[in-house]
């Protein structure tokens, strides 16, 4: 007997995979690039320049980021609209996480829209009007200028926290939805790993954001390249 996939089935599976493969992967790369700001303006602008030099960049941007992002967020909002939240009566941890996944998703829809218009395109009135794309030499200055404004910084910190959580819990959801993780014990391990990942991504992301207003971000300055003194030659290693 042949199997029949319904539209909902295929769209849900697509929603689950787009969250991990293009978007999750992109977030790791994004945080890695941002963290280069720890080493100062020149290092960050060089990183942006290197992105500009990626072959097929426009196609990658459209089909690797924008199309999956629009699909994932629009379909995610449709899924959220179906929810009948009941965490007040059934206040179990994973029921709250269910709520939180939808709440962060809806927040991220607006945050990412703002973020892309603000920095990628430079189209948010009264804020930065220079797109980072195509202006690699000004990239650090543009972002640093935005992050001087307190409310913008606060919005970005919430954006990073929400993304880190949504992605890390998304890994757990993907693992159970695709039948990778099944049993109760395995779920607990996966969830613990997810919580750890969320904390790590949050820290890396927020640290990178602070790197635009303070050298080396939240980390002690000695670990960053720019301020590191060259080790005296011939000195004992231990």
């Amino acid at each position: 007997m042949a199997v029949k996939f319904s539209k909902t089935f295929l769209l849900r599976k697509l929603h689950q995979i787009t969250g991990i493969v293009p978007l999750g992967m992109f977030f790791f790369v994004h945080m890695f690039t941002n963290s280069k700001a720890m080493n100062g303006e020149a290092a960050f602008n060089k990183a942006v320049k290197e992105i500009h030099d990626i072959p097929f960049l426009l196609l990658i941007e459209i089909f690797g980021i924008f199309v999956p992002l629009i699909f994932h967020s629009v379909y995610g909002i449709l899924i959220s609209a179906e929810a009948k939240p009941n965490a007040l009566n059934y206040g179990y941890g994973r029921n709250w996480f269910y709520m939180l996944q939808r709440a962060t998703g809806i927040f991220l829809f607006f945050f990412i829209l703002f973020h892309v218009l603000n920095l990628r395109f430079g189209l948010v009135p009264y804020l930065n009007m220079t797109p980072v794309a195509g202006n690699a030499d000004k990239a650090f200055a543009i972002v640093a200028g935005e992050f001087q404004i307190t409310w913008v910084m606060v919005v970005y910190i919430f954006g990073i926290l929400a993304t880190a959580w949504h992605l890390a819990y998304g890994f757990f959801l993907f693992a159970v939805d695709w039948g990778i993780v099944i049993g109760e014990k395995a779920q607990k391990f996966t969830l613990a790993a997810g919580l750890g990942l969320a904390a790590l991504l949050s820290f890396v992301g927020i640290n990178a954001a602070f790197s635009f207003v303070r050298p080396c971000g939240l980390m002690p300055k000695f670990i960053c390249e720019e301020t590191k003194k060259p080790a005296p030659s011939g000195a004992a290693k231990f």
Partner: protein
């Protein structure tokens, strides 16, 4: 909650003189629902059903208004038939095993709130029509094909481990707790954990396995298994401690390996 949670009985040390029952009333399907409060003398060892029986003897509300006796469903009175399921103090459970002392201790008040399950058509007062759940069982063909035009013979033996695992799923009494607590269930857009667990039960059976694809097909529709939102309330409220999430995720694996990527075998 475990199946034998009632064994450790908690006692209300200083019980109130009277207890109030706030009950959602509805005259018939489609009629406007309203609330009525009744008052009862406290006595030891009351449960929700015995309290309701007490109320229906003389259905006078706390304001002194004579009203109709509340209607509810009940049968086994030992939490194995599932028919007396209702929403008690905001949580779905069987009313026969809901002890008043436990409820008052949990809510720290003298009031017990009773409402019908919200995800099923409300026939009257606390009685609901759960036939949707039987439609779901038909949708996933939750049965085993026995003899057809010829004798299929006895089924093969199964390892004890498999029998134990299947036994857990076989305890389902179709009470509806999992569906009521599921934030994704409702408006006919999700088949719910009950039918998924039953599909799993019969797909694990050596004879049932032969028609496994038919059951999986019943879960691939627009109301299928992918509508699960992993809130996992089902496993928390299931009075029979059925590993419902395990059934869902095992079926997810089955679908990923055999259905989604099944074409890789061709």
């Amino acid at each position: 909650m475990t199946t034998n949670a009632h064994i450790e009985k908690k006692r209300l040390e200083t019980p109130p003189a009277t207890i109030k029952f706030k009950i959602q009333r509805r005259e018939k399907e489609g009629a406007q629902a309203h609330w009525e409060t009744f008052e009862l003398q406290y006595r030891r060892n009351l449960n929700v059903i015995s309290a309701l029986m007490e109320i229906r003897k003389d259905p006078v509300t706390i304001e002194g208004k004579q009203t109709t006796p509340p209607v509810w469903d009940m049968s086994c009175l030992e939490q194995v038939c599932g028919i007396c399921t209702m929403v008690i103090d905001g949580k779905v459970r069987q009313s026969c095993s809901a002890l008043i002392d436990d409820l008052l201790l949990a809510s720290n008040s003298d009031t017990v709130t009773l409402a019908p399950m919200s995800k099923f058509p409300n026939v009257r007062d606390l009685k609901v029509d759960r036939s949707k759940m039987f439609d779901h069982l038909k949708q996933v063909e939750a049965w085993i094909e026995l003899d057809g035009t010829y004798d299929l013979g006895p089924g093969p033996h199964v390892p004890n481990e498999l029998a134990q695992e299947r036994y857990a799923f076989s305890r389902c009494m179709t009470c509806g707790c999992c569906l009521e607590a599921c934030p994704q269930y409702g408006d006919d857009n999700y088949i719910g954990p009950q039918a998924i667990a039953q599909a799993r039960l019969f797909n694990m059976h050596p004879t049932g396995k032969m028609t496994a694809e038919d059951r999986i097909n019943g879960l691939l529709g627009d109301d299928g298994i992918t509508n699960c939102g992993n809130a996992q309330n089902c496993i928390q409220v299931c009075p029979m401690s059925i590993p419902l999430t395990k059934a869902i995720y095992e079926t997810n694996r089955d679908i990923t390996v055999n259905t989604l990527f099944g074409w890789l075998k061709k």
